[in-house]
């Protein structure tokens, strides 16, 4: 293990600050995960990954870089992993979910920027996250104004490539996104020195589709009245899937799904019968952001589904594998990715349809719609989400929070009151 210190040193990390981060993680992991009874055995894999979060996977990435492979850091579910994989590149998520990084971000960004952006910038500039050090290039996208401007700041410190996500979903926008993907492929070829061939791209599409199917299997199990996995565990699985090798991710998710399906057959649930089921929607929950799930699940309810980028949006909808030209395949990618109902689109009725559909599929008793502070897009959408849910007779609680612990008491009061209301 001592090797990691050397690795971090070689990555140019700030070891002293990083050590402070290492001090707080075990407490949070212990409180959030180890207090749970009867967790699935297959969560072992994710327990190991989170225990060695700045060790095992970074070391793997560095080994691959030594063989000449390039690592692409991404911030958003719009960036098509398939293109990078087709060129023998590696994708790693780069999202800041920790308050630890926020002050570093606030040093260069306005305070009223969302904590996700502040933490992501802070993680890079503070040199306390190996993933942010390892990535050869960052791939950004135009899903909000804050990110667009933050990428300009990051771009002064690290090579940055930006994809222009359309803001509407007309047929011409799908074509435009296809062209963005084709341009991106050229850039990826340039960085990796490898061609994106039809064959390689088809194989990459197949690999990522398999990962999506495996994650979906885990989520399918959460639809059962006999709930075989907590929301916290499912969230951890999803969060880590952004960082892992896609084939291993699929394998581990399938292994977990096998166990969950067996649990359902055996009637093994992680909560007492009648526990209220919550669908969570809103801004993404980047690792290690577990605050909301933990508060909900220690307030007498269970999270059964996340309609968010760190949730269903990451794996729903497969890419059509049948195309025989690069143009066909890029179009197939565009069509799949443009089904993503991010709040950056106007109008965005698809998200509300998804929330209602998922609430029904997952038999949710109520919906919690939570946005990160200063995320105007999701905050504004709360009104139409709440109105649509009320029309459907589905209770909804709208919340706003950040990465600080200080509002936990008030969140508990609101969430407990919501659960009391659902319990009638």
């Amino acid at each position: 293990m001592a090797d990691y210190v050397k690795m971090w040193e070689n990555l140019g990390m700030d070891l002293e600050s990083h050590d402070m981060l290492c001090q707080v993680l075990p407490v949070a992991v212990g409180d959030v995960f180890m207090t749970q009874e009867n967790r699935p055995k297959a969560m072992d894999f994710w327990d190991l990954v989170i225990s060695e979060v700045h060790g095992i996977r970074p070391a793997e990435l560095i080994e691959e870089q030594k063989k000449g492979r390039k690592v692409f850091g991404t911030f958003c579910v719009f960036v098509p992993d398939e293109v990078i994989i087709a060129a023998n590149g590696i994708v790693t998520g780069l999202c800041g979910g920790s308050q630890f990084w926020v002050p570093g971000g606030e040093a260069v960004l306005p305070k009223n920027t969302c904590p996700l952006i502040k933490a992501s910038v802070g993680a890079r500039l503070g040199r306390t996250c190996p993933f942010f050090r390892i990535a050869d290039v960052y791939v950004g996208e135009t899903t909000c104004d804050g990110k667009k401007k933050a990428y300009e700041i990051l771009g002064q410190d690290v090579p940055m490539y930006i994809m222009d996500v359309p803001q509407m979903k007309r047929p011409k926008d799908i074509v435009k996104w296809k062209e963005e993907i084709a341009d991106f492929a050229q850039k990826v070829e340039e960085i990796t020195g490898n061609k994106v061939s039809v064959e390689k791209l088809k194989e990459a599409i197949r690999i990522v589709n398999e990962k999506r199917k495996a994650m979906k299997r885990v989520y399918e199990a959460r639809k059962s009245e006999c709930l075989p996995i907590s929301g916290r565990d499912a969230l951890l699985m999803t969060q880590i899937s952004f960082f892992d090798d896609p084939e291993r991710c699929a394998q581990m998710c399938n292994r977990l799904a096998d166990e969950l399906e067996q649990r359902i057959k055996d009637g093994v649930s992680v909560v007492p019968a009648g526990t209220k089921r919550i669908l969570l929607t809103g801004t993404p929950l980047a690792v290690p952001n577990w605050k909301l799930h933990n508060i909900i699940e220690t307030s007498g309810a269970a999270v059964v589904c996340e309609e968010m980028c760190t949730g269903t949006r990451y794996f729903e909808n497969l890419v059509d594998e049948s195309g025989e030209t690069l143009d066909d395949l890029y179009m197939a990618l565009s069509e799949r990715y443009m089904k993503n109902n991010c709040a950056c689109f106007t109008p965005n009725p698809g998200r509300i349809e998804d929330i209602i559909r998922l609430a029904k599929e997952y038999k949710a008793d109520g919906v919690i719609d939570c946005s990160l502070k200063f995320c105007g897009l999701y905050d504004i959408e709360k009104k139409s989400v709440a109105e649509a849910l009320k029309k459907e007779g589905i209770p909804v609680l709208s919340l706003e929070t950040d990465y600080e612990d200080s509002d936990a008491g008030q969140l508990r009061t609101r969430i407990e009151a919501f659960v009391e209301m659902l319990n009638g």
């Binding site: 075990p26 959030v32 605050k291």
Partner: protein
């Protein structure tokens, strides 16, 4: 008092080996990040979390299988679901 035991290792390969041995012997344990207070000079990494009613059996398995580990530390009330200290 709610005591928990953490078995610490030099590296995760050792940890995983004992984890499999304990699981094989039906000794309940979970992979968890080693608490900072217990880690000392060891760096950020995994440990095995064992409840008091299982620790003696865990020690028996370690002995009979000659399993390699660094140390075993006990902690009082390390796990508090409503502490609300996130990271």
């Amino acid at each position: 008092m709610n005591t928990r035991y953490y078995i610490l290792f030099e590296n995760y390969e050792q940890g995983l080996m004992l984890h499999d041995l304990l699981d094989g012997a039906g000794v309940m344990n979970r992979i968890a990040p080693a608490p900072a207070a217990a880690r000392g000079t060891l760096c950020c990494g995994m440990s095995l979390l064992v409840a008091p009613d299982m620790i003696e059996r865990a020690k028996e398995v370690i002995q009979s299988e000659h399993a390699v580990y660094h140390s075993i530390v006990s902690m009082e009330n390390p796990l508090q679901p409503r502490r609300d200290q996130y990271c």
